[in-house]
Amino acid sequence: MIQVEHLTKYYGDFLAVSDLSFEIGEGHVYGFLGPNGAGKSTTMNIMTGCLSATEGHVRIDGFDIFEQPKEAKKHIGYLPEQPPLYLNETPAEYLRFVGEAKGLRGQDLRDQVESVIAQTGIDNVRNRRISALSKGYRQRVGIAQALLGNPEVIILDEPTVGLDPIQIIEIRDLIQDLGRTHTVIFSSHILPEVQTICDRILMIAHGRLVAFDAPENLEKRLLAPNEVTLLAEAGLEDTETILAGVEEIAEVQAEEAEPGRTGAHVTLSCKDAYEGSRAIFLAFAQAGKPLLELSVKRASLEDLFLELTEATGEETGAGPETESEPETPETEEEQP
């Protein structure tokens, strides 16, 4: 659907995007993740034809955005970081204008405007001035605008920034809804958001692609720490002796949490964390000491994110590229 090849963008001497290549297939919600200033907006602006690239190509459904912009842009709906709204118009007027500019006419135009108004839930404010609308509604009008003309790809630049928690949830639901019928690419620097609604994550740091994978796979990729924490109803000495009897354990740090209860932080020697926790459970059961809490530590996306982005920051040069190369084919295989 979208092919980005060796995209490079300089602002004067500043390198904003550096040799970025990826391919996006049909369907799914793609999350574009990266810290502020990583080059997310720049990449999106280039993909939508709002900005030129210093080098490289972007193809939308086979049409080059620089060579055949008119055809390519018909397949894209774009919501920039700041929704491009004419504040002294009503949503209905505004959407009508955008629809006409996208080449819709007559009944088709009316039908599409009605359908995007219904889809984004702005029917009750359709005749109010946009300047009087809340940020959440403005964002919806912006999304409605992107949906007009029924493009296959919807690109949203930080659609949830500056919204209150309820509005954020509503916009997320809307994005998930859209993901069923469109390819949605949206950028964010909020990890849990991307983790919950994306099928694939593109991580970008310092203008380079550092990871492109499903959220679960990304989590798996990180260390697998094999750490278990527990809280037992036993004295410090009892706990230590019980744990010493478990052979899967490499290291124990135990301390008394409160009288009669001991907390412990355990590093396992075995690969499977559940194998270790099973052994620990059985050991405590045999000793007749109840376990109150037992949890296996998971690597969060956040850890991976920090690891990957910091790595790129430190080793500028060839390092990150070698990191990103094996990932791209990996994901291509997974794609339907």
Partner: protein, 287 residues
């Protein structure tokens, strides 16, 4: 393009812009017509147009200041870039909308000679010839205003520069009598002009080499020509200043001759500034 045109027209007629522009133009023409045609009982309507043409220095910047500057400030230009329309369509659509707003009061004004005709002899050919030239001159100034608006994201700044440039153009003929007519003076002024053009090229293309290169090469050629044929620069600056004046050319029409070169000149100015506006808009994609 029609989408842009309709959208712009709706914006103008929903806000005060179109009405203020029309009201100012009608008041100016009305007062002049009162003075010349009614109080002084002169039957030449073209004098009226000539007398009030200075009003353009105020109303054109009012009309054009926001047309692109505001898009840039509100970031709605991003929408225009991402829509499947070309920058040329955007500029032409916007320009046609501006012309429509300008035509509304002109249609009303075009009735005046017919009304005056009932009370005496009116030279209709001169009157309507001048009115056509008046329209083209305004259209050229509007294209200039459009270009100035494309250079900034500050409406006030666009208006200020617009007023200054139009006033300079209006008075350039009178000023040309005061500037140096010697060859040396002309050369110095030409150098400044070439440097300015170089600066505009640099701004539009973002390439320093091209801007400086143009200025340096042009000034070198100028120097060579001056070295070998200094006499050809005699009185050059004043004549350039009056040749570039849009208002001076209008006087020819008022004096009763339908000057085709001036018509072509107006049309070229319109073409040039529309072209520059497209480039200026396109340039923002290449920053």
């Amino acid at each position: 393009m029609t989408a842009i045109l309709k959208h712009e027209l709706r914006t103008y007629f929903h806000s005060l812009t179109a009405y203020i522009f029309g009201a100012f133009l009608l008041i100016a023409v009305g007062i002049s017509a009162m003075r010349y045609n009614i109080d002084a009982a002169v039957s030449n309507f073209e004098f009226v147009l000539n007398f009030c043409s200075l009003i353009f220095a105020i109303i054109v910047p009012i009309l054009t200041m926001r047309v692109l500057a505001e898009e840039r400030r509100q970031r709605t230009d991003q929408l225009l870039y991402s829509l499947p329309i070309t920058t040329t369509q955007v500029i032409v659509g916007k320009y046609l909308a501006l012309l429509t707003v300008y035509l509304v009061p002109l249609v009303i004004i075009s009735l005046y000679p017919l009304i005056f005709r009932r009370f005496g002899d009116v030279y209709l050919l001169t009157a309507y010839g001048s009115l056509l030239a008046f329209f083209l001159m305004g259209a050229a100034l509007i294209s200039l205003g459009l270009f100035i608006s494309s250079l900034t994201d500050n409406q006030g700044f666009a208006a200020g520069i617009g007023v200054a440039v139009i006033l300079f153009n209006y008075y350039s003929v009178s000023l040309s009598e005061y500037v140096s007519a010697t060859a040396m003076g002309s050369v110095i002024a030409m150098c400044v002009l070439l440097l300015l053009i170089g600066a505009v090229i640099k701004h539009l293309t973002g390439s320093e080499d091209l801007g400086y290169g143009f200025s340096i090469v042009a000034i070198l050629i100028l120097g060579l020509v001056f070295f070998f044929r200094a006499e050809s620069f005699e009185g050059l600056l004043p004549s350039i200043m009056s040749a570039l004046s849009l208002f001076d050319r209008f006087v020819t029409f008022v004096n009763g001759s339908f000057d085709l070169t001036s018509i072509v000149y107006y049309l070229s100015v319109i073409g040039l500034f529309l072209f520059l506006s497209v480039q200026s808009l396109e340039k923002r994609r290449y920053n």
